[in-house]
Each structure stands twice: as structure tokens, then as C-alpha cells.
Symmetry: C2
């Protein structure tokens, strides 16, 4: 299975989500509509809708009812992305300009809020307070994760636990919730809902650790952004944490990573140290562990073809042969 | 009635709201908690909670059930304020720095999102999808209003309609919804809910027009911000729109208001022209008209002492003797 063949199970539904994304950002204000449409058209893997739909498919072939929910999950994800794009005064002062859109900071905020409010309206159409509850709680915790990421930049004291907690909120939570809500919308049994939530959580963790590895090892073409962009921004991920602690050049690495200037100017040197350490191999072990945990959850779920596909996906994400 | 004596009806409940505001922004992240607490402690008139509570008081003396809702309404208002504080690249480039907080742009966004998500959780505790629905829809429209305000800066072509539509979304909507939801939480009859929503809408319009007048006429002490701060930021309000159209110096005013530089450097000259025109008197007529409309809605509501107080408030806001 390459390139998410898994998505074939739900390609029709994903096309509908794509249509619904555009339908649900309508505004009478042309500038708002075009900014929001730009967000939608910027693409993305639509992972969160896919997880909601695949989870639902475990319980029935007909998952039409999950389309609005799947759309809402992607809108929420998009809202967080556009807010993450806003530049800070301080980073601007250092001469960095990372916002790609031509709309500026304030428009990015309002477009994010607008998209989020539209997601809320979509979810509200289910008249299910359990679903709204899960999403409100998740939004709050994602927000905490974004702040954790912000305040932990250049912090070379952070350990494995800090890192895991941060990526949990940054990535794993919304994927867990996507799986959970897909099952809830199909009125699955509580133990099945919990199993899917955990599957999504572990898979989300594996996914983010892999993503953080790729920032060191993949080519710019594969990533769609410069190699080492985490390092350049002072974002310290698992391979760095491992290398600081266990590599013989750990102390030097620690010094380099704690300064914004050296992170930017000596990024390649930093990347070399990490790639030559055992940090990457260790991070792969972690993704493997999470993938195993994800797969184990699937035993509690209906034995239909999608279940096998979900297991394959966990293997794919952790980079294993299967 | 000076200084909102009206609030005496609900002083106990407002104290509870004050406590709840702080209780509902708890986070394990100290930086997030302190930024959010700073927002709460910055104060404000707590108008939106007051309107929800007063509306509820029309139907029963015991309005305990409305406390979480009233708290949520203020949290939503605070979230929009902190997002409005974020500076744009462009305004920074022009050398303006308007963000007062010491936390920077990104923290302001995340704190706003966090506070909003907490409001959502509070509202969700009612398990009333009609209430969540109203709030989701309102958030979307408030957002549109903020963008309208942003794109209409320095736009001297805008007319009365543009202005009214903008302040409707900026201010009147959330006040209307505060009144509406106060009644909904008390399970008032549909016609009573509608009457209160309209009362809040008209009162909110009167309130914002008055606020826009005060930006020209009040002292810095009363305002808590520099006189003419709208003009300096290129925000064109009713007195300006009137003066551009009808004053003999209208054309000159138009030229001055259409340039960010002259708005900043020649603000006092601009203010003089507007204050000497009939724009202020015209704006007072408009607030009076809205206050009348607000008062008229009250006829459909229970004849209890709070009703008289709500009528007094409308007079107070429109600056009339009564």
C-alpha cells in the first residue's frame, strides 16, 4: 500500500467532503470568502475527514451521515493552521516573515475564527451535545498544545515527556477525536468508540513522530518545505532531545539549539549532528511502539476489510514493511 | 439613574459571574492562565452578562441558572477583544504598535481561542442545541463584522448603510443575543424571546453610535483612551460620514480621511471639522431613534420593575433626560 491506497475505500465520500468544504465557507464579504477559499484550495491530505469516514465504515458501508462531521473536522484543522501562520512581533523584528498569505495577520485571525464558527454550525446540525462537548474540549486542549510548542522553542531542557505531551495536543488529539466522532456518529458501542479514539491517538502520535523525523531526513520535494525547518525555528523534536542527552556532541548541540541565531545560521551543522546520532533510529522505535499500540486497539472492532486497512495504515505511517 | 444603577438588580449575580470568569480559564500552562487572567482582570462593564441576567429577571427573581451563560457571553466578548488587539504586519511597518499585552501576537490568538473554547464548554453544559446554534451563528457574523471594520478603514465612500451594518455585527449582535439567550434559558415564550432579542439589537445599535460620538466629544479620562482614536486609526463612523456628505468642508474632510498619514498627523484638524459640523447632532438623532425602537419592544414583556429599568437604560444610553 503506497500513497494511502486506503483512501480508495472512501474516495467518493472524500470528494463530497471537498465540495462541502467550499460550500461551508460562504460569506457576503468577498475578501473573507476568497481568504477562506484559498485555505481550502491549499489542499492537504484531508487526514481527519478520512479517519472519521474510515472509522464510520467499520460499522456500515453507508456513511453519508458522517460527511458534515468530516467536513467540520477539516475546517477545525484549517482554522488552527491559519492561526499558526500568524507572525509574532518579535519574530518580525528578527526579520523573519513566515506568513505566506497576502492577507496579513488580522485577516488570518478572522478567517480562522470564521472557519471555526462554520465548523461549529455544521457540527451543531447533528443536535448531539456529546459531539459538541468533545469538540469544545478538544479545541481548548489543542490551543494549550500550540502554546506549549511556542514556549518550548529553544528550550533544550525539555525531556521526552514534554515532547510527547506537546505532540499529543498538537496532532494526536484531533486525529483521536476524528476516529471517536466517526464512531459516535454511527452510534457504535461505547467500547468500540473508546477503541477507535485510542487507535486514533496512538496513530496520531506515530504520525507526528514520523513527521518530525522526516524534517531531518526527507528531501525538500517530499516535504514541500525546506529540510530542517523545525530546527531553524527552534522547534526541538524527539531526535534532538535524544541526541542532546546521549550523543557525545550533546553538550555542543544543546548550546547551538538554545540560541535563535545559531538555529538559523548553523542549521546544517545542527542537522548533521542529529542525523549522525542515534536520535533518528530511536525516534523510529517510538513510532513503531505507537503503531503497535494502535493496531492492538483494532482487535476490539468489527472484523471487516476496513479494519485490515486501518492496521496497514499504522504500519505504513511507522515506516514498516508488512 | 447614573452609572448603571440598574445593575443593582443583579449585583449579586454579577459578582458570581466575576468569580466564574476566573474559574473558567484555568489551565495547567502558567503562561496561558496568566494571559487569560490578565484579560479577565482588565475589567470592562460586563454589559453582556448584565443584559442576559436582566432579561432573565423579567421572568423570575431567581436567575441562578443563567450565571454560566452570562459568564460565557463575557468570555466570548473577551476573546474577540484580544483578537482585535493583534497587530498586522502592515500596521507594524508603519511604526504603530497597538498591542498592549506583553505576550505578543501569537499568544493573543491562542489566549482568545482558549477563552472562546472555554465559553463553548460552559454553554454546552446546558445541553441545549438551540443555544449553541445561536452562538455559533453569532460568532460567524461577529467575525464578518470585524473584517468589515478592517476593510472599511480610510474608505470615505462608505455610506450610512455600510456603517450600520458594520456596527450591527461589531456590537449590536452580541448584545441582542445576550438578551435573547437570557430569555431562552428561562424558557420564555417565543414572542418574548424575539422582543428581547430586538430590544438588545436596538439598544446595542444606540450604544455603539453613542460610543462613536463619545470618541469625538468625551475627555480622555472618561474614555480611558485618547480622544479621536477612531480617526487616528482610519475608522470612519457616523459623524464623519454625515460631515463628508453634508458639511461645506466635506470634500476636504474626505481627502484627509482617506490617507493613513493625514489621519494620524492631522487628527485634531479632522476632529475639529467634524465637531463643528452637524454630524454629532445627527448621530444623536440616530441613537434616539434606536432607543425608541428598543423601548417599544418592551411592551411585549412582563410588566415588572426590571422592565422599567430596561427602558431607563435605553434613555440613559441615548443621552436623554427621563
Amino acid at each position: 500500500m503506497t500513497n494511502f491506497e486506503l483512501f480508495n475505500y472512501i474516495s467518493g465520500e472524500l470528494n463530497q467532503v471537498e465540495e462541502q468544504l467550499l460550500n461551508n465557507i460562504h460569506s457576503d464579504l468577498p475578501v473573507l470568502e476568497s481568504a477562506s477559499a484559498h485555505l481550502v484550495k491549499a489542499g492537504g491530505k484531508r487526514l481527519r475527514p478520512a479517519f472519521a469516514l474510515l472509522s464510520a465504515k467499520l460499522f456500515s458501508d453507508s456513511v453519508q451521515d458522517v460527511i458534515p462531521l468530516a467536513t467540520a473536522l477539516e475546517l477545525i484543522h484549517m482554522a488552527t493552521l491559519v492561526h499558526d501562520d500568524v507572525i509574532d512581533n518579535s519574530s518580525l523584528r528578527r526579520g523573519q516573515e513566515t506568513v505566506k498569505s497576502g492577507w496579513g495577520n488580522r485577516m488570518s485571525i478572522y478567517a480562522g475564527n470564521f472557519v471555526f464558527a462554520n465548523a461549529l454550525l455544521l457540527v451543531e446540525s447533528y443536535h448531539r451535545s456529546d459531539i459538541v462537548d468533545v469538540l469544545a474540549d478538544t479545541s481548548m486542549r489543542i490551543c494549550e498544545g500550540e502554546i506549549q510548542q511556542m514556549v518550548s522553542c529553544y528550550d533544550t531542557q525539555q525531556g521526552l515527556k514534554d515532547y510527547l505531551r506537546r505532540i499529543e495536543r498538537k496532532t494526536a488529539l484531533l486525529i483521536a477525536v476524528s476516529c471517536q466522532l466517526g464512531a459516535m456518529a454511527m452510534n457504535a458501542a461505547p467500547r468500540e468508540i473508546t477503541a477507535l479514539k485510542r487507535y486514533g491517538y496512538y496513530l496520531g502520535m506515530a504520525f507526528q513522530v514520523t513527521d518530525d523525523i522526516l524534517d531531518f531526513t526527507a528531501s525538500e520535494e517530499v516535504l514541500g518545505k525546506p529540510v530542517g525547518s523545525d530546527i531553524r525555528q527552534g522547534v526541538i523534536t524527539l531526535p534532538s532531545i535524544y541526541a542532546i542527552k546521549f550523543d557525545q556532541r550533546g553538550q555542543k548541540l544543546k548550546t547551538l539549539l538554545s540560541s535563535p541565531d545559531s538555529c538559523r545560521q548553523r542549521a546544517e551543522e545542527i542537522i548533521d549532528i542529529i542525523v549522525q546520532s542515534d536520535g533518528i533510529a530511536y525516534a523510529y522505535q517510538v513510532t513503531n511502539k505507537y503503531a503497535d499500540l494502535a493496531i492492538r486497539q483494532l482487535q476490539l472492532l468489527p472484523d471487516v476489510p476496513v479494519r485490515k486497512a486501518l492496521a496497514d495504515l499504522a504500519c505504513f505511517i511507522s515506516g514498516r514493511d508488512y
